[in-house]
Amino acid sequence: MNGRAVHARPGARSEALPPDVATRLARLDERLATQWQRRRRLEIAAAIGLPLLIGVAFVAYWESATTGSSQNVLIPSFTSFIAAAYDQLGQGGFWSAAWTSESALLLALGAAIVLGIPIGLYLGRHRTIDGLASGYLDSAVVTPTAVFMPLVIVGLGPTFWARVFVIFIFAFPYIVLPIRVSSSTVGKDLTDMARSYGASRWGLWRDVLVPASVPGIFTGLRQGVAHAFTGMFLIELTFLSVGIGYLLTGYEESFDPADVFGVSLIVVLEALVVMVLLQSAQNRLSSKWREAGRR
């Protein structure tokens, strides 16, 4: 048996055809290929050029609206805050503040990921336990987590661990939820297949459930990172003036918007880089996870 599907090979239709028909069809194929390439180039140009154009237009408008204007007190010119951001990177004070903030962020996010992934996977496969946890998880996403910050401060004091805890409760539900959904929707046919081939509980998790949940895991990671940064900013700007929050508060109080924007830009860029890396990793894997057996 050859097993080849019945389909036309490129150029196959030129076989066994009169020469003039074959020539005409070959020219048609060429024209179609050229049109496709032209369209593809336009798509790429639009995908890169359009955002670039909008960005340049926005920056130009921002610069012209703020240069020499009284609005500078609140909103710096684009060039001034880029310069401020660049200056910050050369200052030891910035890096010290960044480490103060990032150490809490890394610990909290790390804990949220280490706990959130297995918990999300487990909840997706155990309906009874999931029923018990769903009350907390569902209310966590509809309730502004910020309302719990004063309680945390009262409970743990204005400490490093209070910051870690706040960032953790910001990130944790958003890591768990997509993973829980992903895990719960792994098709019964896949798990039956695995069982039919003698997969143990460990083998089922290792070879089917966890790989099948990878898209949900990446979604959870991206959402968790985003909310972790939000939590870090909020706690440091409101209740505990330390780290980046302390820097920003200080610059605000001294009416230095360029430095406020500059510092914020650096942190936002950091978060964006992490998100882009995660998205990129997810995109590279997603071609394998296509048609992921959802039933």
């Binding site: 097993g3 695995a194 081939y197 997969a199 143990s200 790989p211 048609e291």
Partner: protein
């Protein structure tokens, strides 16, 4: 048909199974699926089970495969009681059920991995199985890069790789187009001719059952085996037999049994 105990590979004795679903006023509704099924399958026999949708033919297969617990009776495979899935049986599912993130080779080696076979050895065995089904050149392909027929052949390779005593096939070609289906039927017939495994093949196609099987069990909507047909065509089977009088007679006989 009585067989000696040593001949019997699969024995289904007085097996019954019902599903329970919530009914009105919290009274459960009992849905009988299998009613006192008795089947004996010899070693190296190719048995097809035909019947209308919902007659329980897949349930019989899943019960033999250990995926469906039964309510009454007993199932043995090679003399051992079936209490769950086992190394002696391998299943081929209707829609191939491949792991979407794994290559053809990794999918074919899946059963071997669950059995603890070392990586190098399981890749060799999986590669051999893929060669058997004509897909040795597509070992690195992912499922979405393959046609439906190719995916189903990987499913068959996965089952063959573990060298089971019994091959359980649940409408494996049901989701395929006619051309691919006929091609795979020929492929399966060729593989079976070389290997002579015990095969239980569920299908809703009477023609497919006649072309492939030594014996055909007919099931009814009541979850019972109502008829049995054997010795209907000589082996080896050829496509020319499909237009023979014997084939037509048996086909009409089965249709009568189904109606």
């Amino acid at each position: 048909m009585a067989h000696s105990d040593q001949d019997i590979m699969v024995a289904v004795n007085d097996v019954s199974k019902s599903f329970v679903k919530p009914g009105k006023r919290r009274n459960p509704e009992i849905l009988p699926v299998l009613r006192n099924i008795n089947i004996q399958i010899k070693r190296s026999e190719f048995v097809a089970i035909v019947g209308p949708t919902g007659c329980g033919k897949t349930s019989v297969l899943r019960a033999i495969g250990g995926l469906l617990p039964i309510d009454a009776g007993a199932i043995t495979v090679d003399g051992k009681l079936v209490t769950g899935p086992g190394l002696d049986r391998a299943m081929v599912f209707q829609d191939a059920t491949l792991l979407p993130w794994a290559t053809a080779l990794e999918n074919a080696a899946f059963g071997l991995k669950q059995r603890g076979v070392p990586k190098k050895q399981r890749e060799e065995l999986a590669r051999e199985s893929l060669e058997t089904v004509g897909l040795g050149h597509r070992a690195a392909a992912l499922p979405h890069e393959m046609s439906g027929g190719m995916r189903q052949r990987v499913g068959i390779a996965r089952a063959l790789a573990v060298n089971p005593g019994v091959l359980l096939m649940d409408e494996p070609f049901g989701a395929l187009d006619e051309i691919t289906r006929r091609s795979l039927q020929d492929e399966l017939a060729r593989i079976w001719d070389e290997d002579r495994k015990t095969v239980i093949f569920v299908t809703h196609s009477v023609e497919e059952a006649l072309y492939l099987a030594d014996r055909i069990l007919v099931m009814s909507h009541a979850g019972r085996v109502t008829d049995e047909i054997s010795d209907f065509l000589p082996r080896p089977r050829t496509r020319g037999m499909e237009s023979s009088d014997a084939f037509t007679r048996q086909r009409e006989k089965i249709w009568e049994a189904l109606s």
